[in-house]
């Protein structure tokens, strides 16, 4: 597997259709209209595109994609070239509006996600504060949390920024699923709300309340009746987070 050094899509402007070369001009029924965002690509010297050949495939936007790799910088979040291509293909297939970004509705269209009790919280994790659209860079950033931790990375020096898929960052991701108001504490109310999402109508309020109380009691160490991130980490110190919060590619 070629581990290409890739800049994690810094400033990826959206999909670009430029630099398709002479192929675009062989139009007809075969070519789709050029993606409107492609005209804003940061490469004004590229040949004008009369049409993008092919479907919403990575191939047609691949040329602009490779262009970005020319400005590379070593990053901790190493992910192979073919994996990025595949995820980009996935991103474009989810993007029904074809504007280079995903909205919450695009995620909710996935049936298996819609039936997940915490589906909405997970979708929320993709969108930064106050925004309604996520571009491919944001998409990859969030997914990067779930990269498996390779053995040879564990012993790397701690000079650079912590990789997104470290144990601590994975735990932080889960912590943020509980922490509804983003104040770095899980209060009793927040825990109750998340529990209610997970169990639906099957458990009464009192029972759920006592479960929440007990959980906070066990985890809380500084007596503020809320779970801070440090307390969260302490409770889960024995759990195999590296394995349970990692997704392995098949290829």
């Amino acid at each position: 597997m070629q581990l290409l050094v890739v800049e994690v899509l810094r400033g990826w402007p959206g999909r670009s259709g430029a630099s398709c070369g002479s192929w675009c001009l062989l139009g007809g029924v075969e070519s789709k209209r050029c993606h409107p965002a492609s005209r804003n690509v940061r490469d004004p010297s590229g040949p004008g595109c009369a049409g993008v050949v092919g479907d919403n495939s990575p191939g047609s936007h691949y040329c602009g994609f490779r262009r970005q790799r020319s400005a590379v910088q070593r990053q901790r979040d190493l992910i192979s070239h073919s994996q990025i291509t595949r995820l980009y293909s996935r991103f474009t297939s989810l993007d029904k509006g074809e504007n280079g970004t995903l909205s919450r509705e695009d995620f909710q269209r996935i049936p298996e996600l819609a039936i997940n009790p915490l589906g909405d919280r997970i979708i929320n994790a993709f969108f930064p504060e106050g925004e309604d659209q996520v571009n491919f860079r944001g998409f990859m950033r969030t997914l990067a949390h779930f990269r498996p931790i390779e053995d040879n990375e564990k012993s790397k020096d701690q000079n650079g920024p912590e990789p997104l898929n470290s144990r601590s960052n994975k735990l932080h991701f889960a912590f943020r699923l509980y922490d509804l108001d983003k104040d770095d504490k899980i209060s009793r109310d927040e825990l109750l709300q998340v529990l209610r999402m997970m169990v639906g109508v099957n458990i009464s309020d009192e029972q759920l309340g006592s479960i929440a109380d007990r959980t906070i009691q066990e985890a809380d160490q500084d007596g503020d009746s809320a779970i801070s991130f440090a307390e969260f980490v302490k409770v889960l110190e024995k759990v195999d987070v590296e394995q349970k919060m990692s997704i392995r590619f098949l290829h």
Binding site: P58, I115, L118, L143, V199, G200, I203, V239
Partner: protein, 438 residues
């Protein structure tokens, strides 16, 4: 000179038409299409090798589609997964139902897995090919194409658009007009064996012409299991062409909604020659009425087998989705049929949210060919201990197994609609059991 050219082209065209239509009438084949298919395959293999070579020279990895999913998913249940997470977290008694903060890891990972790769949404778009078939609509690695390949591609496009397309349109036109006039004429005859015989052959002949209009190369397997009168034929649905493919090898009664326009004309003509089941738009919503009419039809043994596609919508031929139980409640013998297209020569899937009918037909007629295999499976009946849904699932599994398709329980209607809340409630119920027990 121009006159001469015009005349010779017309003569050529007419000769071609005759050579194609006459065998269609008698149901024989010269085998030209098979030779065509083999030649095309060789060209495609060569084209793919060239692209791979081009990519290797530039030292870039090729984009290869993976149909079986891109991430590793474990087929474990909710209980097992959560228990495992808890087991690694603490040494407490495992079977006691309680809540752990770590439970969220299960839902989180499952959710992200479905965002990266889910089973359902990829069934509603065209399948990706491994080798290139000289259609630019399927090429993902086009920047590796050499001059020779470009010339071949151009030639291919010329042949498809300037030679094959007009020929196919002429054939389709002939086929449809013969169908309409033939069935109308037969309709005037008095009911009897003569009428049935003629009706059958008019239908078969016209469908065969339409098959040639699409250059469909069909291989039928197990023809002894073909549907008989009083039965229901069910098949997986990929495109409207499925109807033509099945009806050119057997004589069926169609079921469907009454349309306007050209389709309406065809429908009205067809029903004069033999009893098809056409529903008005308002009647379609009434499930009992539909069931009643279908039951009446199958109980009359002299009437033809009904052709139904229980998925209700077009799926991309990599999987079979939920069968609607309506046709399985009627109590007739079910004859399952599996249809599998070879996407190399032309993708037959109709993505109705992307292309209208006319664009779709144009794409079909400018592909190289439509190649498919049809398997007639042995008839099945509902066993006393199973209900309609279980019977439908059993038939669906048999079809999926034979066609090499993935058997899914998801509803094909999810193409357009949201998933029902009942599934989420099921998940919530399962999880509640883990926290508080029964």
């Amino acid at each position: 000179v121009v006159n001469l050219l015009g005349i010779s082209i017309t003569v050529l065209f007419t000769l071609l038409l005759v050579f194609i239509i006459v065998p269609a009438i008698f149901g024989v084949s010269f085998g030209i299409r098979k030779v065509y298919m083999k030649t095309l395959l060789k060209i495609f293999q060569w084209a793919t090798l060239r692209i791979e070579r081009g990519a290797k020279e530039k030292n870039h990895p090729l984009y290869k589609p993976y149909v079986n999913g891109i991430i590793a998913k474990e087929p474990t249940s909710l209980e097992e997964e959560i228990k495992e997470i808890r087991r690694s977290g603490s040494g407490k008694a495992l079977d006691a139902p309680e809540f752990e903060l770590s439970d969220i890891f299960y839902f989180c990972r499952k959710g992200i897995e479905t965002i990266m790769d889910d089973e359902v949404t990829k069934r509603f778009s065209a399948e990706e090919l491994e080798s290139w078939n000289l259609l630019s609509r399927t090429n993902y690695n086009f920047q590796y194409i050499s001059l020779r390949l470009t010339v071949l591609w151009g030639l291919g496009m010329l042949i498809r658009y300037c030679f094959l397309l007009p020929l196919r349109i002429a054939l389709a036109f002939t086929g449809i007009s013969l169908l309409v006039t033939g069935t109308t004429v037969v309709g005037y005859l008095p009911n009897g064996r003569c009428k049935e015989f003629l009706s059958k052959h008019v239908h078969l002949m016209c469908y065969r012409i339409c098959v040639r209009a699409l250059t469909a190369i069909i291989t039928y397997h197990d023809r002894e299991n073909r549907p008989r009168n009083g039965g229901i034929c069910v098949a997986n649905h990929t495109s409207p062409i499925d109807v033509i493919i099945l009806a050119s090898d057997g004589y069926y009664a169609m079921v469907g909604q009454v349309h306007g326009g050209l389709m309406g004309v065809i429908q009205r003509a067809m029903v004069k020659a033999c009893p098809h089941v056409w529903f008005e738009r308002s009647e379609v919503k009434d499930r009992h009425l539909v069931a009643k009419r279908l039951t009446e039809h199958v109980q009359d043994k002299s009437k033809l087998p009904i052709l139904i596609f229980p998925e209700g919508t077009c799926i991309n031929n990599t999987s079979v989705m939920m069968f609607k139980k309506g046709s399985f409640e009627i109590g007739a013998t079910v004859y399952p049929v599996a249809i599998k297209y070879d996407p190399q020569f032309g993708d037959a899937f109709w993505n109705s949210s992307k292309y209208g009918m006319v664009t779709y037909l144009l794409r079909m007629m400018t592909s190289w060919a439509i190649v498919c295999s049809v398997w007639y499976l042995p008839p099945m009946t509902r066993q006393p201990e199973e209900d309609a849904v279980q019977f439908a699932n059993r038939v669906k599994s048999a079809i999926a197994r034979q066609g090499g398709l993935v058997d899914l329980l998801w509803d094909g209607g999810l193409k357009r609609e949201k998933v029902k809340d009942a599934f989420k409630e099921e998940q919530q119920k399962l999880y509640s059991k883990m926290i508080v027990g029964n």
